[in-house]
Protein backbone atom coordinates (compact mmCIF):
# COMPACT_ATOMS: atom_id res chain seq x y z
CA UNK A 1 0.00 0.00 0.00
CA UNK A 2 1.36 3.37 -0.94
CA UNK A 3 -0.07 6.21 1.03
CA UNK A 4 2.13 8.99 -0.26
CA UNK A 5 -0.15 9.93 -3.09
CA UNK A 6 1.36 12.43 -5.43
CA UNK A 7 -1.40 11.38 -7.82
CA UNK A 8 -4.15 12.93 -5.70
CA UNK A 9 -4.72 16.02 -7.82
CA UNK A 10 -5.08 14.17 -11.17
CA UNK A 11 -7.40 11.68 -9.46
CA UNK A 12 -9.61 14.48 -8.14
CA UNK A 13 -9.73 16.16 -11.53
CA UNK A 14 -10.53 12.88 -13.30
CA UNK A 15 -13.31 12.19 -10.82
CA UNK A 16 -14.75 15.65 -11.34
CA UNK A 17 -14.74 15.13 -15.10
CA UNK A 18 -16.38 11.74 -14.62
CA UNK A 19 -19.12 13.30 -12.47
CA UNK A 20 -19.81 15.96 -15.09
CA UNK A 21 -19.88 13.36 -17.87
CA UNK A 22 -22.29 11.15 -15.91
CA UNK A 23 -24.49 14.15 -15.14
CA UNK A 24 -24.64 14.91 -18.83
CA UNK A 25 -25.49 11.31 -19.67
CA UNK A 26 -28.15 11.37 -16.95
CA UNK A 27 -29.85 14.28 -18.73
CA UNK A 28 -30.15 12.27 -21.93
CA UNK A 29 -31.31 8.93 -20.51
CA UNK A 30 -34.93 7.95 -19.91
CA UNK A 31 -38.19 7.04 -21.53
CA UNK A 32 -37.34 9.54 -24.26
CA UNK A 33 -33.70 9.09 -25.26
CA UNK A 34 -32.07 12.37 -26.24
CA UNK A 35 -28.84 12.86 -28.19
CA UNK A 36 -26.08 14.91 -26.50
CA UNK A 37 -26.77 17.72 -28.95
CA UNK A 38 -30.49 17.69 -28.15
CA UNK A 39 -29.66 17.76 -24.42
CA UNK A 40 -27.40 20.76 -24.87
CA UNK A 41 -29.99 22.56 -26.93
CA UNK A 42 -32.71 21.76 -24.41
CA UNK A 43 -30.53 22.96 -21.54
CA UNK A 44 -29.70 26.23 -23.30
CA UNK A 45 -33.04 27.33 -24.71
CA UNK A 46 -35.43 25.07 -22.82
CA UNK A 47 -37.95 25.06 -25.62
CA UNK A 48 -40.31 22.35 -26.77
CA UNK A 49 -40.94 18.96 -25.25
CA UNK A 50 -37.26 18.08 -24.92
CA UNK A 51 -36.66 21.36 -23.09
CA UNK A 52 -39.42 20.46 -20.66
CA UNK A 53 -38.08 16.94 -20.17
CA UNK A 54 -34.49 18.01 -19.60
CA UNK A 55 -35.07 21.12 -17.51
CA UNK A 56 -38.08 20.13 -15.46
CA UNK A 57 -37.73 16.38 -15.07
CA UNK A 58 -34.16 15.24 -15.61
CA UNK A 59 -32.23 18.24 -14.35
CA UNK A 60 -33.70 18.07 -10.81
CA UNK A 61 -33.17 14.33 -10.75
CA UNK A 62 -29.58 14.68 -11.95
CA UNK A 63 -28.80 17.50 -9.53
CA UNK A 64 -30.26 15.50 -6.65
CA UNK A 65 -28.20 12.43 -7.58
CA UNK A 66 -25.08 14.56 -7.78
CA UNK A 67 -25.59 16.52 -4.56
CA UNK A 68 -26.89 13.60 -2.53
CA UNK A 69 -24.23 11.20 -3.82
CA UNK A 70 -21.53 13.72 -2.88
CA UNK A 71 -23.08 14.10 0.58
CA UNK A 72 -23.06 10.33 1.06
CA UNK A 73 -19.42 10.09 -0.02
CA UNK A 74 -18.30 12.99 2.14
CA UNK A 75 -20.30 11.79 5.17
CA UNK A 76 -18.87 8.29 4.86
CA UNK A 77 -15.31 9.58 4.61
CA UNK A 78 -15.87 11.97 7.54
CA UNK A 79 -17.29 9.23 9.78
CA UNK A 80 -14.49 6.86 8.85
CA UNK A 81 -12.04 9.63 9.70
CA UNK A 82 -13.68 10.34 13.05
CA UNK A 83 -13.94 6.69 14.05
CA UNK A 84 -10.62 5.66 12.44
CA UNK A 85 -12.50 2.73 11.05
CA UNK A 86 -12.98 1.98 7.35
CA UNK A 87 -16.31 0.25 8.04
CA UNK A 88 -18.11 3.23 9.52
CA UNK A 89 -21.14 4.32 7.54
CA UNK A 90 -23.53 7.25 7.68
CA UNK A 91 -26.49 5.32 9.12
CA UNK A 92 -24.53 4.80 12.34
CA UNK A 93 -26.09 7.62 14.36
CA UNK A 94 -29.70 6.99 13.39
CA UNK A 95 -30.36 10.14 11.33
CA UNK A 96 -31.43 8.34 8.14
CA UNK A 97 -33.74 6.08 10.11
CA UNK A 98 -35.26 9.07 11.89
CA UNK A 99 -35.70 10.89 8.58
CA UNK A 100 -37.44 7.83 7.12
CA UNK A 101 -39.73 7.64 10.14
CA UNK A 102 -40.66 11.34 9.88
CA UNK A 103 -41.38 11.04 6.17
CA UNK A 104 -43.41 7.84 6.64
CA UNK A 105 -45.52 9.51 9.28
CA UNK A 106 -46.52 12.26 6.88
CA UNK A 107 -47.24 9.85 4.04
CA UNK A 108 -49.38 7.71 6.32
CA UNK A 109 -51.37 10.32 8.19
CA UNK A 110 -50.63 13.66 6.56
CA UNK A 111 -52.52 12.75 3.40
CA UNK A 112 -49.56 14.01 1.43
CA UNK A 113 -48.71 12.47 -1.92
CA UNK A 114 -45.29 10.85 -1.90
CA UNK A 115 -43.75 13.51 -4.10
CA UNK A 116 -45.03 16.54 -2.18
CA UNK A 117 -42.70 18.75 -0.19
CA UNK A 118 -44.36 17.88 3.10
CA UNK A 119 -42.54 14.54 3.00
CA UNK A 120 -38.94 15.85 2.93
CA UNK A 121 -39.81 18.59 5.41
CA UNK A 122 -41.06 15.96 7.85
CA UNK A 123 -37.97 13.84 7.11
CA UNK A 124 -35.61 16.71 7.82
CA UNK A 125 -37.51 17.43 11.03
CA UNK A 126 -37.06 13.77 11.98
CA UNK A 127 -33.31 13.92 11.29
CA UNK A 128 -32.90 17.13 13.30
CA UNK A 129 -34.89 15.59 16.15
CA UNK A 130 -32.54 12.61 16.09
CA UNK A 131 -29.54 14.94 16.44
CA UNK A 132 -31.17 16.71 19.36
CA UNK A 133 -31.98 13.32 20.89
CA UNK A 134 -28.42 12.09 20.43
CA UNK A 135 -26.89 15.17 22.01
CA UNK A 136 -29.43 15.04 24.85
CA UNK A 137 -28.78 11.36 25.56
CA UNK A 138 -25.05 11.27 25.08
CA UNK A 139 -24.23 14.80 26.17
CA UNK A 140 -21.91 17.19 24.47
CA UNK A 141 -18.66 15.71 25.73
CA UNK A 142 -19.59 12.05 25.72
CA UNK A 143 -17.12 9.36 24.76
CA UNK A 144 -17.21 7.73 21.38
CA UNK A 145 -18.71 4.53 22.78
CA UNK A 146 -21.56 6.33 24.50
CA UNK A 147 -22.26 8.34 21.34
CA UNK A 148 -22.32 5.18 19.23
CA UNK A 149 -24.59 3.37 21.65
CA UNK A 150 -26.97 6.33 21.83
CA UNK A 151 -26.97 6.41 18.01
CA UNK A 152 -27.75 2.70 17.90
CA UNK A 153 -30.63 3.16 20.33
CA UNK A 154 -32.03 6.05 18.29
CA UNK A 155 -31.68 4.11 15.03
CA UNK A 156 -33.54 1.15 16.52
CA UNK A 157 -36.22 3.42 17.93
CA UNK A 158 -36.70 5.16 14.57
CA UNK A 159 -36.87 1.79 12.83
CA UNK A 160 -39.51 0.65 15.30
CA UNK A 161 -41.44 3.88 14.75
CA UNK A 162 -41.45 3.31 11.00
CA UNK A 163 -42.66 -0.24 11.55
CA UNK A 164 -45.42 1.04 13.83
CA UNK A 165 -46.50 3.59 11.22
CA UNK A 166 -46.67 0.86 8.58
CA UNK A 167 -48.60 -1.25 11.04
CA UNK A 168 -51.13 1.49 11.79
CA UNK A 169 -51.44 2.77 8.22
CA UNK A 170 -55.11 3.61 7.54
CA UNK A 171 -55.26 1.35 4.53
CA UNK A 172 -53.01 -1.14 2.71
CA UNK A 173 -52.43 1.18 -0.24
CA UNK A 174 -50.82 3.73 1.98
CA UNK A 175 -48.68 1.04 3.59
CA UNK A 176 -47.60 -0.04 0.14
CA UNK A 177 -46.86 3.54 -0.83
CA UNK A 178 -44.66 3.98 2.23
CA UNK A 179 -42.90 0.70 1.57
CA UNK A 180 -42.17 1.79 -2.00
CA UNK A 181 -41.01 5.22 -0.86
CA UNK A 182 -38.65 3.58 1.61
CA UNK A 183 -36.96 1.67 -1.19
CA UNK A 184 -35.30 4.88 -2.30
CA UNK A 185 -35.75 6.68 -5.60
CA UNK A 186 -34.95 9.89 -7.43
CA UNK A 187 -37.91 9.54 -9.77
CA UNK A 188 -40.31 12.46 -10.25
CA UNK A 189 -38.48 14.80 -7.92
CA UNK A 190 -38.92 18.46 -8.77
CA UNK A 191 -36.91 21.66 -8.70
CA UNK A 192 -38.61 22.46 -5.40
CA UNK A 193 -37.10 19.30 -3.93
CA UNK A 194 -33.66 20.46 -5.03
CA UNK A 195 -34.18 23.92 -3.56
CA UNK A 196 -35.50 22.48 -0.31
CA UNK A 197 -32.72 19.98 0.27
CA UNK A 198 -29.68 21.79 -1.17
CA UNK A 199 -29.19 24.20 1.76
CA UNK A 200 -29.05 21.27 4.19
CA UNK A 201 -26.60 19.37 2.00
CA UNK A 202 -24.35 22.39 1.55
CA UNK A 203 -24.55 23.11 5.28
CA UNK A 204 -23.40 19.57 6.01
CA UNK A 205 -20.43 20.01 3.67
CA UNK A 206 -19.59 23.29 5.38
CA UNK A 207 -19.64 21.54 8.76
CA UNK A 208 -17.70 18.42 7.72
CA UNK A 209 -14.99 19.75 5.41
CA UNK A 210 -13.24 21.95 8.02
CA UNK A 211 -12.72 18.85 10.22
CA UNK A 212 -10.12 17.47 7.78
CA UNK A 213 -7.15 18.49 9.92
CA UNK A 214 -8.70 16.92 13.01
CA UNK A 215 -9.28 13.65 11.13
CA UNK A 216 -5.62 13.53 10.16
CA UNK A 217 -4.52 14.17 13.76
CA UNK A 218 -6.91 11.44 14.93
CA UNK A 219 -4.71 8.97 13.05
CA UNK A 220 -2.67 9.06 16.26
CA UNK A 221 -5.67 8.33 18.51
CA UNK A 222 -7.80 10.71 20.55
CA UNK A 223 -5.25 11.56 23.25
CA UNK A 224 -2.46 12.43 20.85
CA UNK A 225 -4.87 14.40 18.67
CA UNK A 226 -6.04 16.34 21.71
CA UNK A 227 -2.42 16.99 22.69
CA UNK A 228 -1.94 18.52 19.22
CA UNK A 229 -4.66 21.08 19.97
CA UNK A 230 -7.64 19.26 18.45
CA UNK A 231 -10.86 19.63 20.43
CA UNK A 232 -11.90 16.00 20.00
CA UNK A 233 -15.32 16.36 21.63
CA UNK A 234 -16.15 19.31 19.42
CA UNK A 235 -14.99 17.46 16.32
CA UNK A 236 -17.21 14.52 17.26
CA UNK A 237 -20.22 16.78 17.76
CA UNK A 238 -19.57 18.56 14.45
CA UNK A 239 -19.38 15.25 12.57
CA UNK A 240 -22.55 13.91 14.19
CA UNK A 241 -24.44 17.09 13.35
CA UNK A 242 -22.95 17.45 9.87
CA UNK A 243 -23.63 13.85 8.86
CA UNK A 244 -27.15 13.83 10.33
CA UNK A 245 -28.05 17.10 8.62
CA UNK A 246 -26.81 16.01 5.21
CA UNK A 247 -27.86 12.37 5.24
CA UNK A 248 -31.14 13.12 7.00
CA UNK A 249 -32.07 15.71 4.38
CA UNK A 250 -30.97 13.42 1.55
CA UNK A 251 -33.00 10.47 2.82
CA UNK A 252 -36.00 12.77 3.29
CA UNK A 253 -36.09 13.38 -0.43
CA UNK A 254 -35.03 10.01 -1.79
CA UNK A 255 -36.05 7.35 0.69
CA UNK A 256 -33.43 4.87 1.84
CA UNK A 257 -30.32 4.67 -0.32
CA UNK A 258 -27.50 2.69 1.19
CA UNK A 259 -23.91 1.69 0.61
CA UNK A 260 -22.77 4.77 -1.32
CA UNK A 261 -21.37 6.38 1.83
CA UNK A 262 -19.61 3.18 2.80
CA UNK A 263 -18.19 2.27 -0.59
CA UNK A 264 -17.16 5.66 -2.02
CA UNK A 265 -14.25 6.27 0.39
CA UNK A 266 -12.98 2.72 -0.21
CA UNK A 267 -12.98 3.25 -3.95
CA UNK A 268 -10.80 6.32 -3.80
CA UNK A 269 -8.55 5.15 -0.98
CA UNK A 270 -6.76 2.90 -3.43
CA UNK A 271 -5.97 5.84 -5.69
CA UNK A 272 -5.30 8.68 -3.26
CA UNK A 273 -4.02 6.85 -0.18
CA UNK A 274 -5.43 6.59 3.31
CA UNK A 275 -4.95 10.14 4.57
CA UNK A 276 -8.37 10.81 6.16
CA UNK A 277 -8.07 14.52 5.33
CA UNK A 278 -7.10 14.23 1.69
CA UNK A 279 -9.76 11.63 0.99
CA UNK A 280 -12.72 13.91 1.67
CA UNK A 281 -13.07 15.63 -1.72
CA UNK A 282 -12.31 12.53 -3.84
CA UNK A 283 -14.77 10.50 -1.73
CA UNK A 284 -17.49 13.12 -2.28
CA UNK A 285 -16.86 13.04 -6.03
CA UNK A 286 -16.86 9.24 -6.06
CA UNK A 287 -20.16 9.24 -4.17
CA UNK A 288 -21.68 11.61 -6.74
CA UNK A 289 -20.41 9.44 -9.59
CA UNK A 290 -21.76 6.26 -7.96
CA UNK A 291 -25.24 7.59 -7.37
CA UNK A 292 -25.42 9.18 -10.85
CA UNK A 293 -24.31 5.89 -12.41
CA UNK A 294 -26.83 3.90 -10.36
CA UNK A 295 -29.63 6.28 -11.29
CA UNK A 296 -28.69 6.04 -14.97
CA UNK A 297 -28.56 2.25 -14.71
CA UNK A 298 -32.08 1.93 -13.27
CA UNK A 299 -33.39 3.92 -16.22
CA UNK A 300 -31.59 1.70 -18.73
CA UNK A 301 -32.64 -1.63 -17.27
CA UNK A 302 -35.60 -2.89 -19.29
CA UNK A 303 -38.31 -3.59 -16.73
CA UNK A 304 -42.05 -3.01 -16.56
CA UNK A 305 -41.61 -1.21 -13.23
CA UNK A 306 -38.55 0.99 -12.76
CA UNK A 307 -36.09 -0.57 -10.35
CA UNK A 308 -35.67 1.80 -7.39
CA UNK A 309 -32.20 3.27 -7.17
CA UNK A 310 -32.00 2.33 -3.47
CA UNK A 311 -32.56 -1.28 -4.44
CA UNK A 312 -29.91 -1.01 -7.14
CA UNK A 313 -27.24 0.45 -4.84
CA UNK A 314 -27.91 -2.26 -2.28
CA UNK A 315 -27.94 -5.06 -4.87
CA UNK A 316 -24.75 -3.93 -6.54
CA UNK A 317 -23.22 -2.52 -3.38
CA UNK A 318 -23.16 -5.65 -1.27
CA UNK A 319 -21.26 -7.98 -3.66
CA UNK A 320 -19.02 -5.10 -4.61
CA UNK A 321 -18.27 -4.40 -0.98
CA UNK A 322 -17.62 -8.07 -0.27
CA UNK A 323 -15.22 -8.20 -3.20
CA UNK A 324 -13.35 -5.22 -1.79
CA UNK A 325 -13.21 -6.75 1.67
CA UNK A 326 -11.69 -9.91 0.23
CA UNK A 327 -9.30 -7.85 -1.85
CA UNK A 328 -8.20 -5.78 1.11
CA UNK A 329 -8.49 -8.49 3.68
CA UNK A 330 -4.80 -8.83 4.17
CA UNK A 331 -4.30 -5.10 4.55
CA UNK A 332 -7.26 -4.83 6.95
CA UNK A 333 -6.09 -7.73 9.05
CA UNK A 334 -2.52 -6.50 9.04
CA UNK A 335 -3.49 -3.03 10.22
CA UNK A 336 -3.45 -2.35 13.95
CA UNK A 337 -6.85 -2.16 15.62
Amino acid sequence: MHSVARARFPVTVSLAILVLALAFVSLGVGAVALSPRAVLAALCDGEGVSGLIVREIRLPRTLLALLIGATFGLSGAALQGLLRNPLAEPALFGAPQAAAAGASLVIAFGFAPVTSLAVPIAGIAGALASIAGLVAIAGRRASLTVTLLAGLALASFAGAATALILNLAPNPYIALEIAFWLLGSLEDRSREHVLLVAPFLVASWAILAPQARAFRALTLGEDAAASLGVDVARTRLAVVIGVATGIGAAISVTGAIGFVGLVAPHLVRRAVGSDPARILVPAALAGAALLLAADIAVRLVPAAVEIKVGVATALVGVPFFLAMIFGERRALEGAPA
Binding site: T219, L220, D275
Partner: protein, 262 residues
Protein backbone atom coordinates in the same frame (compact mmCIF):
# COMPACT_ATOMS: atom_id res chain seq x y z
CA UNK B 1 9.54 33.67 26.29
CA UNK B 2 12.42 35.28 28.17
CA UNK B 3 15.63 33.31 28.64
CA UNK B 4 15.50 33.49 32.40
CA UNK B 5 12.22 32.15 33.63
CA UNK B 6 12.09 32.66 37.36
CA UNK B 7 9.56 29.87 37.79
CA UNK B 8 10.26 26.33 36.60
CA UNK B 9 9.14 25.53 33.06
CA UNK B 10 6.33 23.40 34.42
CA UNK B 11 5.02 23.68 37.95
CA UNK B 12 2.16 21.56 39.25
CA UNK B 13 0.78 21.78 42.77
CA UNK B 14 -1.92 19.84 44.56
CA UNK B 15 -2.98 18.03 41.40
CA UNK B 16 -5.94 15.70 41.95
CA UNK B 17 -7.95 13.69 39.45
CA UNK B 18 -11.07 11.68 40.09
CA UNK B 19 -12.39 9.10 37.66
CA UNK B 20 -15.92 8.44 38.81
CA UNK B 21 -15.68 8.15 42.59
CA UNK B 22 -12.12 6.89 42.56
CA UNK B 23 -9.27 9.27 43.28
CA UNK B 24 -6.57 8.26 40.82
CA UNK B 25 -4.37 11.22 41.60
CA UNK B 26 -4.17 13.05 44.92
CA UNK B 27 -2.11 16.03 46.03
CA UNK B 28 0.67 15.60 43.48
CA UNK B 29 3.27 18.37 43.26
CA UNK B 30 5.94 18.22 40.62
CA UNK B 31 8.14 20.73 38.79
CA UNK B 32 10.23 20.44 35.67
CA UNK B 33 13.16 22.71 34.88
CA UNK B 34 14.78 23.44 31.56
CA UNK B 35 17.44 20.95 30.56
CA UNK B 36 16.35 18.14 32.83
CA UNK B 37 14.92 14.72 32.20
CA UNK B 38 12.78 13.21 34.92
CA UNK B 39 11.70 9.57 35.04
CA UNK B 40 8.24 8.76 36.37
CA UNK B 41 8.07 5.30 37.90
CA UNK B 42 5.58 3.33 39.94
CA UNK B 43 3.60 0.09 39.97
CA UNK B 44 0.75 -0.49 37.54
CA UNK B 45 -2.23 1.70 38.42
CA UNK B 46 -0.16 4.14 40.48
CA UNK B 47 -1.38 7.03 38.34
CA UNK B 48 1.59 7.67 36.03
CA UNK B 49 -0.45 7.93 32.84
CA UNK B 50 -3.12 10.03 34.56
CA UNK B 51 -0.46 12.43 35.84
CA UNK B 52 1.04 12.78 32.36
CA UNK B 53 -2.40 13.35 30.84
CA UNK B 54 -3.26 15.92 33.51
CA UNK B 55 0.00 17.78 32.87
CA UNK B 56 -0.75 17.69 29.13
CA UNK B 57 -4.18 19.20 29.78
CA UNK B 58 -6.00 16.12 28.52
CA UNK B 59 -7.96 15.35 31.67
CA UNK B 60 -9.75 17.70 34.06
CA UNK B 61 -7.62 18.07 37.15
CA UNK B 62 -8.02 19.97 40.38
CA UNK B 63 -5.07 21.96 41.69
CA UNK B 64 -2.79 24.24 39.75
CA UNK B 65 -0.67 23.44 36.72
CA UNK B 66 1.38 26.26 35.24
CA UNK B 67 3.53 26.21 32.14
CA UNK B 68 6.13 28.98 31.82
CA UNK B 69 4.36 30.74 34.66
CA UNK B 70 0.90 30.66 33.09
CA UNK B 71 -2.04 28.46 34.10
CA UNK B 72 -2.51 25.53 31.74
CA UNK B 73 -6.29 25.51 32.15
CA UNK B 74 -6.61 29.00 30.72
CA UNK B 75 -4.63 28.32 27.56
CA UNK B 76 -6.25 27.72 24.18
CA UNK B 77 -5.74 24.10 23.07
CA UNK B 78 -3.37 25.01 20.27
CA UNK B 79 -1.29 27.30 22.41
CA UNK B 80 -1.01 24.57 25.02
CA UNK B 81 -0.05 22.15 22.26
CA UNK B 82 2.84 24.37 21.23
CA UNK B 83 4.23 24.30 24.79
CA UNK B 84 3.53 20.71 25.85
CA UNK B 85 4.10 17.71 23.59
CA UNK B 86 2.58 14.41 24.68
CA UNK B 87 3.65 10.98 23.49
CA UNK B 88 1.02 8.39 24.49
CA UNK B 89 1.91 4.78 25.06
CA UNK B 90 1.40 2.15 22.40
CA UNK B 91 2.48 4.13 19.34
CA UNK B 92 -0.83 3.64 17.56
CA UNK B 93 -1.31 4.67 13.93
CA UNK B 94 -4.81 4.09 12.59
CA UNK B 95 -4.13 4.78 8.91
CA UNK B 96 -1.16 3.76 6.78
CA UNK B 97 0.28 7.26 6.33
CA UNK B 98 3.93 7.71 5.41
CA UNK B 99 6.25 8.13 8.39
CA UNK B 100 7.08 11.69 7.31
CA UNK B 101 3.38 12.56 7.20
CA UNK B 102 2.96 11.22 10.73
CA UNK B 103 5.91 13.30 11.92
CA UNK B 104 4.46 16.36 10.16
CA UNK B 105 1.35 16.02 12.37
CA UNK B 106 3.58 17.35 15.14
CA UNK B 107 3.52 20.70 13.33
CA UNK B 108 -0.27 21.07 13.48
CA UNK B 109 -0.22 23.30 16.56
CA UNK B 110 1.93 25.78 14.63
CA UNK B 111 -0.15 26.01 11.47
CA UNK B 112 -3.03 28.39 10.95
CA UNK B 113 -6.05 26.73 9.34
CA UNK B 114 -5.32 27.80 5.78
CA UNK B 115 -1.54 27.82 5.81
CA UNK B 116 0.47 25.49 3.71
CA UNK B 117 3.52 23.79 5.12
CA UNK B 118 6.15 26.44 5.91
CA UNK B 119 9.94 26.26 5.69
CA UNK B 120 10.05 26.11 9.48
CA UNK B 121 7.71 23.11 9.42
CA UNK B 122 9.82 21.28 6.85
CA UNK B 123 12.99 22.01 8.79
CA UNK B 124 11.48 20.82 12.08
CA UNK B 125 10.24 17.59 10.50
CA UNK B 126 13.66 16.97 8.93
CA UNK B 127 15.37 17.60 12.29
CA UNK B 128 12.99 15.23 14.10
CA UNK B 129 13.50 12.51 11.47
CA UNK B 130 17.27 12.93 11.66
CA UNK B 131 17.34 12.96 15.48
CA UNK B 132 15.43 9.69 15.65
CA UNK B 133 17.25 8.04 12.74
CA UNK B 134 14.02 7.61 10.81
CA UNK B 135 14.91 9.56 7.68
CA UNK B 136 15.67 6.36 5.77
CA UNK B 137 12.07 5.14 5.93
CA UNK B 138 10.34 8.52 5.97
CA UNK B 139 8.36 7.67 2.84
CA UNK B 140 7.23 4.22 4.01
CA UNK B 141 3.71 3.67 5.38
CA UNK B 142 3.98 3.46 9.18
CA UNK B 143 1.93 0.27 9.26
CA UNK B 144 4.74 -1.55 7.45
CA UNK B 145 7.38 -0.58 10.03
CA UNK B 146 8.70 -2.73 12.86
CA UNK B 147 7.86 -1.96 16.50
CA UNK B 148 11.17 -0.19 17.07
CA UNK B 149 10.79 1.87 13.95
CA UNK B 150 7.23 2.85 14.90
CA UNK B 151 8.35 3.90 18.37
CA UNK B 152 10.97 6.17 16.84
CA UNK B 153 8.48 7.64 14.35
CA UNK B 154 6.08 8.31 17.24
CA UNK B 155 8.87 10.05 19.17
CA UNK B 156 9.83 12.03 16.05
CA UNK B 157 6.22 13.21 15.82
CA UNK B 158 6.37 14.48 19.40
CA UNK B 159 9.79 16.07 18.85
CA UNK B 160 8.66 17.81 15.64
CA UNK B 161 6.37 20.08 17.66
CA UNK B 162 9.56 21.49 19.25
CA UNK B 163 7.58 22.16 22.40
CA UNK B 164 9.71 23.03 25.44
CA UNK B 165 8.02 20.30 27.50
CA UNK B 166 7.82 16.67 26.40
CA UNK B 167 5.67 14.20 28.33
CA UNK B 168 6.33 10.62 27.22
CA UNK B 169 4.35 7.61 28.40
CA UNK B 170 6.45 4.45 28.34
CA UNK B 171 8.41 5.48 25.26
CA UNK B 172 10.65 2.39 25.49
CA UNK B 173 8.03 -0.27 26.25
CA UNK B 174 8.24 -3.36 24.05
CA UNK B 175 11.48 -2.23 22.42
CA UNK B 176 14.65 -4.27 22.14
CA UNK B 177 17.58 -3.20 24.40
CA UNK B 178 19.39 -1.21 21.74
CA UNK B 179 16.30 0.77 20.78
CA UNK B 180 15.54 1.41 24.45
CA UNK B 181 18.94 3.03 24.80
CA UNK B 182 18.55 4.98 21.57
CA UNK B 183 15.16 6.39 22.59
CA UNK B 184 16.41 7.35 26.06
CA UNK B 185 19.43 9.06 24.51
CA UNK B 186 17.15 11.01 22.21
CA UNK B 187 14.98 12.07 25.14
CA UNK B 188 18.06 13.18 27.07
CA UNK B 189 19.25 15.16 24.06
CA UNK B 190 15.85 16.84 23.79
CA UNK B 191 16.24 17.88 27.43
CA UNK B 192 19.84 19.02 27.05
CA UNK B 193 18.76 21.17 24.09
CA UNK B 194 16.79 23.30 26.54
CA UNK B 195 13.57 21.39 27.00
CA UNK B 196 12.19 19.47 29.92
CA UNK B 197 11.28 15.79 29.63
CA UNK B 198 9.07 13.71 31.90
CA UNK B 199 9.04 10.05 30.88
CA UNK B 200 7.01 7.30 32.54
CA UNK B 201 8.75 3.96 32.49
CA UNK B 202 8.79 0.55 34.13
CA UNK B 203 12.48 0.14 33.38
CA UNK B 204 14.12 1.21 36.63
CA UNK B 205 17.62 0.59 35.27
CA UNK B 206 16.99 2.98 32.39
CA UNK B 207 15.49 5.49 34.81
CA UNK B 208 18.60 5.34 36.98
CA UNK B 209 20.94 5.59 34.01
CA UNK B 210 19.29 8.45 32.12
CA UNK B 211 17.18 10.55 34.47
CA UNK B 212 18.37 13.57 36.42
CA UNK B 213 15.61 12.88 38.91
CA UNK B 214 13.21 10.04 39.49
CA UNK B 215 9.64 10.69 40.58
CA UNK B 216 8.12 7.66 42.29
CA UNK B 217 4.35 7.22 42.40
CA UNK B 218 2.29 4.94 44.58
CA UNK B 219 -1.50 4.77 44.74
CA UNK B 220 -2.05 8.18 43.18
CA UNK B 221 0.53 10.01 45.26
CA UNK B 222 4.08 11.12 44.63
CA UNK B 223 6.20 9.38 47.30
CA UNK B 224 9.64 10.45 46.12
CA UNK B 225 11.13 13.02 43.78
CA UNK B 226 14.91 12.98 43.97
CA UNK B 227 18.11 11.98 42.16
CA UNK B 228 18.01 8.31 41.14
CA UNK B 229 20.26 6.95 43.88
CA UNK B 230 18.07 8.50 46.56
CA UNK B 231 14.68 7.91 44.93
CA UNK B 232 15.37 4.28 44.07
CA UNK B 233 16.83 3.15 47.39
CA UNK B 234 16.50 -0.48 48.43
CA UNK B 235 13.99 0.46 51.15
CA UNK B 236 11.77 2.40 48.74
CA UNK B 237 11.93 -0.34 46.14
CA UNK B 238 10.69 -2.75 48.79
CA UNK B 239 7.97 -0.39 50.03
CA UNK B 240 6.66 0.73 46.63
CA UNK B 241 7.27 -2.18 44.30
CA UNK B 242 7.43 -5.05 46.78
CA UNK B 243 10.74 -6.30 45.41
CA UNK B 244 14.18 -6.98 46.73
CA UNK B 245 16.78 -5.06 44.78
CA UNK B 246 20.49 -5.37 44.17
CA UNK B 247 22.56 -2.53 42.77
CA UNK B 248 25.36 -2.51 40.20
CA UNK B 249 27.63 0.30 39.08
CA UNK B 250 27.17 1.06 35.37
CA UNK B 251 28.20 4.15 33.41
CA UNK B 252 28.77 6.09 36.65
CA UNK B 253 25.28 5.34 37.92
CA UNK B 254 24.04 3.08 40.69
CA UNK B 255 21.66 0.91 38.72
CA UNK B 256 18.94 -1.10 40.50
CA UNK B 257 18.37 -4.69 39.40
CA UNK B 258 15.18 -6.17 40.77
CA UNK B 259 16.08 -9.45 42.36
CA UNK B 260 12.97 -11.17 43.73
CA UNK B 261 9.48 -10.39 44.95
CA UNK B 262 9.03 -9.85 48.67
Amino acid sequence: MSERTPAPLLAARDVAVRLGRRRVLDGVAIALDRGEIVALVGPNGAGKTTLLRALAGLVDAAGSIAVAGRPLARMAPRERARLVAYLPQGHVFHWPLAAAEIVALGRQPHADPFARTTEADRAAVARALAATGTTAFAERPVTTLSGGERARVALARALATEAPILLADEPTASLDPRHQLLIMEQLREAARAGGAVLAATHDLALAARFADRVAVMQAGRLVANAPPAEALSAERMAAVFGVETVFVEAGGARVPIVHRPL
